[in-house]
């Protein structure tokens, strides 16, 4: 995490948490560093609808949920590159939102998640 995004997160954390679903906001347990093995017939929803219901529900009702931009885009695979707390970087958000990522890069806030609550990723206009 960059220094600026760490600062931004500290400033914005109360707002982000307030906007997040209650179960997610209340969760104190740190996310696991590695993802357990999964079988090929499973999709993220198989477990996460029950395991992380608030996060799943926030995503499912979001624009990314409707467009089926699934968990792997931010969280990576369930292997070594699994990212429990993904950074919103040009390599991920930028594939579809290059202009927005670029506009953020010019500001002190460098992480998309500072404004776009994780999972719901509610939209804001970039000016």
């Amino acid at each position: 995490m960059t220094r600026w995004s760490a600062v931004a997160l500290r400033i914005l954390a109360p707002l982000v948490l307030a906007a997040a679903p209650p179960a997610l906001a209340a969760s104190k347990a740190p996310p696991p560093r590695a993802h357990p093995d999964v079988a090929g017939e499973q999709e993220c929803a198989t477990c996460h609808r029950g395991q992380t219901p608030a996060a799943f529900a926030a995503w499912e009702a979001s624009p990314h949920g409707l467009a089926l931009v699934k968990c792997v885009v931010c969280h990576g695979s369930t292997g070594k590159d699994f990212r429990a707390k993904p950074a919103a970087a040009p390599a991920t958000c930028g594939a579809c939102h290059a202009a927005q990522v670029e506009s953020v890069a010019k500001r002190p806030v460098k992480d998309c998640f500072a404004c776009h609550a994780p999972h719901s990723l509610s939209a804001h206009p970039h000016r």
Partner: protein, 751 residues
């Protein structure tokens, strides 16, 4: 109200609102990271044809980003987003292989090509040109497919040239040709932005064409009272935004579509002036019926009778027809394999066109019948390029003497070179391989040993003693390359240059971004090599794909496809161009047959549209009766099987299963069951079940899903280890020769 409950609906609406907000793209062009080189290209996957940029560093593809200036407005689905991973996959084939006994062993290009050429030459000399064939792909580049078509039809002199578009869109082709006289959709993606009603038939757009689905959702949110009707036996992710989902017994949608037409007449929703000016009526193969005949034909398709036949509700059929036909509102239909992969696929296509024609909802922004395509270059390369067994480039037909003469002149070959009899369509081609009539087959950029219906039968044919099979592939092993006698490493996607033509007549240039991996070569280079070795080098003289393109522009000139104005240079700078585009200054054509848009419609044409594809300048409303599938369920095989896609994977999985993020996401085919069907055999999600058809048997894990239809089993088609096509039926539509992948009868038991 659809089966979607109120909570789901509100959730989906909220999501849709947010999606639109998200879609408000910033105006500024993205500034590129300084350490990457960005090359303009097109997504390798489905027929949507999303524009993107390939990001490279040190000669490797490391990133992609959507092209904001293309029709996809910068958006990509998760498969497109993960494209860089396919380039350096562990199973990339890096050198030629030849079969030695039971094994494929590494060989030099010289050894492999010499062997392939020798076996083809021997087969031709001993048994004649029709003893060999070419099986191509809607994923090959236009220049590659054209080279193969020219080599086989004009060089070797066989029309045994076909390709996997026969499996996915042949019925759409025959539907357009029989109704309008010309192939390909007349509308464009931008019609989505103007449609008031969407009729989505036999398409899970959300998963199969996510970027088009996003555009539909955007329209639903921004338009006034936009309605979405989904006709699909399954309640898929697409139905999240549906206002009405009609579920029905597989194979009964012809009755529903006729009943909708019946309602249009009964409720005065027909555009009588349009009907009188622009339509002919026909039955069988002849357009010799009248409006009165059609009305009499429709009389037996009451909503009630259609409901009884289909299991849908009569009031839903009426609602769908009322929404579609509402005066003053536009209507767009979109369909994919649910309609095409049927023994009556052409008829089903005709019936969708009928709805547009009798209401006059065609040729205005937002009103168009749109067949959505599954592969990135099925339209541009195989359909338009005429690389099917009965076609010649750009609308010409093998069986038409004048067309053959035109092509002989354009190809500078003696009169009489082109054989007048159509060659073998896909299923016939593999049956000829099975019975020994076809001795040698060249397979390019596709995986038929997994994707053909009744796959085990044709897997045996590919290994028949005496048959010779050459495969060019970027990956090995695939379920086809493992059966081949020679496997040649093909350059993949960003490793070569060429044109893709997507579902809306949009031609786009994929520029070369990196060198081919290992010893891989572009298919164009491989085909030119083969041509030289077979003594036809003069027919394939090109040094670059751009030279092929110039020849293609000349071949298309003066046809309904005319893209003379699409110079290579213009394609390099443009973000896709839609044909017809007959001159360099021409902007391209969003809507065909429309005065003021289509350059083939005279400026002084009397009406807003001119269906110039047929001699009488009319489109045909066809009287197509309801007919069920080839293999209905019975006491022994009591459940329907249907197959399809999931968003994470594509086709036979050779690419998407190389993405680590997707390898563990929905990669294993499961048997999706209705809860009552699962309970009847005592299985729960995760339990193994054996699904058996008259052709084969496969064990899948069961998954009990909410959207399943009772009596219907769904299996996705992407898993090479659990191949749904061992089960599917190889019966074909008699006109399009497209197999009925979508419907057969099975039994399911606890394994």
């Amino acid at each position: 109200m659809s089966p979607m409950n109120r909570r789901d609906f509100l959730k989906a609406s909220a999501a849709a609102s947010a999606l639109i907000a998200l879609g408000s793209k910033a105006q500024a062009a993205p500034a590129d990271p300084k350490d990457l080189t960005w090359t303009k290209s097109v997504c390798r996957y489905c027929g949507t044809g999303c524009g993107l940029y390939v990001g490279t560093r040190d000669g490797k593809v490391v990133s992609v980003k959507g092209d904001t200036e293309n029709h996809n407005a910068g958006f990509l689905c998760l498969k497109g987003f993960l494209l860089p991973e396919i380039m350096s996959a562990p199973d990339r084939l890096l050198h030629p292989l030849v079969r030695k006994g039971d094994k494929l062993v590494q060989a030099s290009w010289e050894e492999a090509m010499a062997l392939a050429a020798t076996r083809f030459r021997e087969a031709i000399e001993k048994h004649g040109p029709d003893a060999v064939g070419f099986y191509g792909s809607g994923q090959g580049l236009t220049e590659e497919t054209y080279a193969a078509n020219k080599l086989f039809k004009a060089g070797i002199r066989t029309n045994n040239v076909d390709g996997n578009p026969r499996l996915c869109m042949a019925s759409a082709v025959a539907g357009y040709v029989s109704t309008y006289g010309k192939d390909e959709p007349m509308g464009c993606y931008e019609d989505i932005d103007h449609a008031d009603v969407f009729l989505l038939v036999g398409t899970n757009t959300s998963e199969a064409h996510p970027i088009l689905f996003r555009r539909i959702v955007k329209r639903k949110q921004s338009g006034k009272d936009v309605k979405i009707v989904v006709l699909d036996p399954r309640r898929t992710a697409t139905s999240r935004v549906a206002d009405l989902h009609l579920s029905f017994t597989p194979g009964t949608d012809l009755a529903i579509l006729n009943a909708m037409a019946s309602v249009l007449f009964a409720e005065g929703l027909v555009d009588e002036a349009f009907v009188a000016r622009h339509l002919a009526f026909g039955e069988g193969a002849d357009a010799d019926k009248t409006l009165a005949d059609y009305r009499a034909f429709l009389a037996e398709y009451t909503p009630e009778r259609a409901a009884a036949l289909s299991g849908a509700r009569a009031e839903d059929i009426v609602t769908a027809a009322r929404w579609f036909g509402a005066k003053g509102r536009t209507a767009m239909s979109m369909w994919t394999m649910g309609l095409n992969q049927r023994t009556k696929g052409v008829w089903a296509n005709n019936l969708v066109h009928n709805l547009h024609l009798v209401t006059g909802k065609i040729g205005v922004p937002g009103s168009t019948p749109f067949s959505v395509t599954g592969q990135p270059n099925a339209c541009g390369g195989v359909r338009d390029g005429g690389a099917l067994s009965h076609t010649l480039p750009y609308g010409r037909l093998v069986a038409n003497e004048k067309h053959r003469a035109e092509m002989e002149q354009l190809w500078n070959v003696p009169a009489g070179t082109l054989a007048p009899k159509p060659g073998l369509a896909t299923m016939d081609m593999f049956r000829a391989l099975e019975d020994g009539k076809l001795k040698a087959l060249w397979i390019m950029c596709t995986n038929p040993a997994q994707s053909l219906p009744n796959a085990d039968r044709y897997r045996k044919a590919l290994r028949r003693e005496g048959a010779f099979v050459a495969v060019t592939e970027a990956f090995h092993p695939t379920r086809t390359s493992e059966l081949a006698d020679v496997v040649l490493p093909a350059a993949l996607w960003a490793e070569k240059e060429g044109v893709y033509g997507c579902g809306e007549r949009r031609y786009q240039l994929l520029e070369c971004a990196v060198k081919p991996s290992g010893e891989a070569r572009p298919d164009l280079e491989i085909l030119c090599d083969l041509g030289r070795r077979l003594g036809h080098g003069a027919l394939l003289p090109w040094k670059t794909p751009a030279e092929v393109w110039d020849e293609l522009r000349a071949v298309a000139k003066g046809t309904a496809y005319d893209f003379t104005g699409m110079t290579r240079e213009r394609l390099r700078t443009a973000h896709g161009l839609l044909w017809p585009l007959p001159a360099e200054g021409h902007p391209g054509t969003s809507r065909r047959y429309v005065k003021g848009e289509d350059p083939l419609v005279p400026a002084d044409a009397p009406d807003r549209v001119l269906f110039y594809g047929r001699p009488d300048k009319k489109a045909v409303v066809w009287l197509r009766p309801h007919k069920g599938p080839e293999e209905p369920v019975d006491a022994e095989y009591p459940l329907w099987l249907t197959t399809g896609r999931v968003i994470e994977h594509w086709h036979t999985g050779t690419m998407t299963r190389n993405c680590k993020e997707l390898r563990h996401a929905n990669s294993e085919s499961v048997a999706e069951l209705h809860a009552e069907d699962a309970a009847a055999i005592g299985v729960r999600t995760g339990d193994p079940v054996r699904v058996t058809s008259r052709r084969g048997s496969v064990v899948f894990k069961a998954r009990v899903v909410d959207g399943a239809r009772k009596g219907l089993v769904f299996v996705h088609m992407h898993d090479p280890d659990r191949m749904c096509n061992v089960l599917t039926i190889d019966a074909v539509d008699p006109v399009s020769r497209q197999p009925e992948f979508k419907i057969c009868a099975v039994k399911v038991a606890k394994a």
